[in-house]
């Protein structure tokens, strides 16, 4: 595969930017506080987590990190990863399609602003209020459940339960889909009409255009959107707690149990669990970086 010329041009342009004199200090005045903030509120706590996860009553110990291998902990990690991966995929596909149809020229005029403003609200609607909104609609005594019952459809008889993994995915979709719409609209808008026209004039149909032009260009944006959605679901705590109060073990709930519960008190275990979460997120980001490198061949600007 030939590397496109634009990427080489891009990397050449990035070598020697022209800097105005004194701009260095000016930039530091603005960036310095930010770096300090990151150091105090992100790096230090992370280091503290490290030290806590490895220190026992008598110096260094591996017991807390080894305890991550316990079946219930492994289960919590698997549940968290599956839930995050699936709900992010649902958000990606549904949100992506909604955004695509919204941006088509033939879409109704007012619809776009309606959907984007709703998304801005819904993407931030989570936690206890969201959980109870769903319990009131889809819970075993919820409004919709009872309506369906009157129509002769036993929702819970079909094996669906709001308090199960599938229920959690439905609830998460409520904030994942809007978040996807918000982050992906600018990327889809960035697809130039000329590219479409060019491929059509060369005889490509809609499918061929998306397969060979549209999706490859969008891929980095889609990947980073997926990563954002994954992290969003992975760290969600209040929503699953209010909904399932620990029936489905998830890592954030386990952490809260040992850190701020009234039953167990094991801060080191909490630190080890948090460390595990960081490892998972770093793993996901590495995968993302690899995929983005491959995908980025098309969009070196």
């Amino acid at each position: 595969m030939q590397r496109p010329a634009m990427e080489q041009a891009g990397s050449a342009a990035g070598t020697q930017p022209v800097r105005p004199r004194g701009g260095h200090w000016g930039a530091m005045i603005f960036i310095g506080p930010f770096l300090l903030y990151v150091a105090v509120f992100l790096l230090l706590p992370t280091l503290r987590l490290f030290s806590q996860a490895f220190s026992g009553d008598h110096g260094l110990t591996l017991q807390y990190v080894e305890a991550l291998g316990q079946p219930q902990t492994v289960k919590a990690f698997i549940n968290s990863i599956v839930l995050s991966a699936v709900s992010a995929a649902v958000g990606l596909i549904v949100g992506g399609l909604v955004a695509y149809f919204l941006l088509r020229p033939q879409a109704p005029r007012g619809l776009r602003s309606l959907v984007t403003s709703f998304s801005a609200v819904a993407a931030n609607f989570a936690g206890v209020p969201l959980a109870f909104a769903f319990i009131a609609t889809l819970g075993s005594l919820g409004m919709v459940t009872l309506w369906l019952k009157n129509l002769g459809i036993d929702l819970y008889g079909t094996g669906f339960s709001l308090y199960s993994m599938s229920g959690l995915i439905v609830v998460y979709a409520y904030f994942q889909v809007p978040l996807m719409i918000i982050v992906i609209i600018p990327a889809i808008e960035g697809l130039r009409r000329e590219w479409r026209e060019a491929s059509e004039s060369l005889g490509a149909g809609s499918w061929t255009y998306w397969r060979h032009v549209g999706l490859p260009i969008l891929l980095p944006s889609l990947l980073s959107a997926y990563l954002l959605l994954f992290g969003n679901a992975f760290s969600a705590y209040a929503t699953p707690y209010a909904l399932t109060s620990g029936i489905i073990s998830l890592v954030p709930i386990e952490i809260s149990n040992v850190l701020s519960g009234n039953v167990m008190l094991a801060p080191q275990t909490g630190a080890a669990l948090a460390l595990g979460m960081i490892v998972v997120m770093v793993g996901v980001m590495l995968l993302y970086a690899l995929a983005a490198r491959r995908a980025g061949r098309w969009s070196g600007k």
């Binding site: 219930q72 109870f132 819970g139 075993s140 399932t244 620990g246 489905i248 009234n262």
Partner: protein, 378 residues
């Protein structure tokens, strides 16, 4: 059904109403009790009162106003001594209270006193976070509810009960076994996760006592909830006072004093009935007071403890439906007004209440942690 032999019963039972002997039950004749509430004894140590007044303020933490009547407790204390009470993080957990002692060490905002579960009281002792103090009424606090060295002591206790919203549930359950009936589909809720909330943990423990388990064996309790979930009766969402009143979670397994207080608060709006389910010994749980080793207002802290543990303070707990630690002593002395006793559930089940000790609690936690998510599927 439980079959615990009498000799393994812990002396704790002495503490409950009339448990000091069946004769006591009959001692509750009108006239013997029912002295004026206001006349109940308050702390008498004049030097301590003067010193506390000089400090003028007290820092408390994790005391929700509607929990065991702490709102009134704080108000009465302030009124009586003119001491300003700073009530921080009312909804904090026991773990967060201990954390606050550590992180606010040496600061004027550090908590003076804490109200924690027994296992956290022991953790606090281990970490050296408390300082010893023995209130004037020390002798009448049951022995198994206090640290011999005065580092912590029980202040109030309750038993696990069912809070039932009568608007939704026309036919309230009487026993643990009743909860499995199809009519309660999707209705039975715990107050949080049993792995994180003491009330929910105790709820599972209580179910164990009624289903062939014991203080040493919580497994049948987990099995009971697994059965409940299988029948579709267990609603795993997190119960709150609001969800009970609105009927989203019409049956809540919770401490009696919380359910009773919910009923009192919503009188006239909705009928919340508190049921002590039959089928086994009720499970009891108590909370502990302790003075922070780094208390910025030591004298005020000591006076606060004297007040909580005086007859007057103990009656304020009782008004909030929490049985005070010195309940049986006070009943024996006839200082509990009859009107108050009448508001409480029947005393009989309280005599049967069982309280797990530290080892039993630890064992139950480990069993629960390994099996809860594995066994209970909704």
């Amino acid at each position: 059904m439980t079959s615990r032999s009498r000799d393994t019963r812990r002396s704790f039972l002495k503490l409950t109403a009339g448990a000091a002997g069946a004769s006591l039950g009959s001692a509750l004749i009108p006239g013997f009790v029912g002295q004026a509430f206001a006349a109940a004894a308050t702390p008498a140590d004049k030097a301590l009162i003067a010193a506390a007044k000089a400090e003028g303020k007290l820092n408390v933490i994790a005391l929700p106003p509607d929990w065991a009547n702490y709102g009134q407790m704080i108000a009465e204390f302030s009124k009586l001594y003119g001491i300003h009470v700073n009530s921080a993080s009312p909804d904090a957990s026991s773990a967060q209270e201990l954390q606050a002692i550590k992180s606010l060490k040496g600061q004027s905002r550090g908590p003076d006193v804490v109200d924690v579960g027994p296992s956290f009281a022991l953790a606090g002792v281990q970490e050296g976070l408390f300082q010893p103090y023995k209130v004037a009424t020390w002798a009448s606090i049951p022995d198994n509810m206090k640290d011999a060295g005065g580092l912590w002591w029980g202040d109030y206790f309750g038993v696990i009960s069912l809070g039932v919203n009568r608007k939704v549930v026309k036919n309230p359950p009487k026993s643990w076994a009743d909860l499995l009936k199809p009519e309660y589909k999707g209705m039975v809720t715990l107050n949080g996760s049993p792995l994180g909330a003491a009330a929910a943990f105790s709820g599972v423990y209580a179910a164990a006592l009624a289903n062939g388990g014991s203080l040493d064996n919580i497994e049948p309790g987990i099995e009971f909830f697994a059965k409940l979930a299988k029948a579709g009766n267990f609603n795993p969402s997190d119960a709150t006072s609001a969800s009970l009143v609105s009927g989203q979670t019409p049956i809540v397994v919770n401490w009696d004093y919380l359910n009773l207080a919910d009923g009192q608060k919503n009188k006239g709006m909705v009928d919340i009935e508190t049921v002590l389910p039959t089928g086994g010994h009720p499970l009891g749980g108590f909370y502990c007071q302790a003075i922070s080793k780094f208390a910025p207002n030591l004298k005020a802290a000591q006076l606060w403890e004297e007040f909580l543990m005086s007859d007057a303070g103990q009656l304020i707990y009782l008004e909030g439906f929490a049985h005070p630690a010195r309940f049986s002593d006070m009943v024996a002395r006839g200082v509990v007004p009859k009107a108050l006793l009448d508001k409480l559930p029947p005393a009989e089940p309280y005599k049967q209440a069982q309280f797990p000790n530290k080892e039993q609690t630890e064992k139950a936690k480990a069993t629960l942690q390994a099996n809860w998510a594995k066994m209970v599927h909704v």
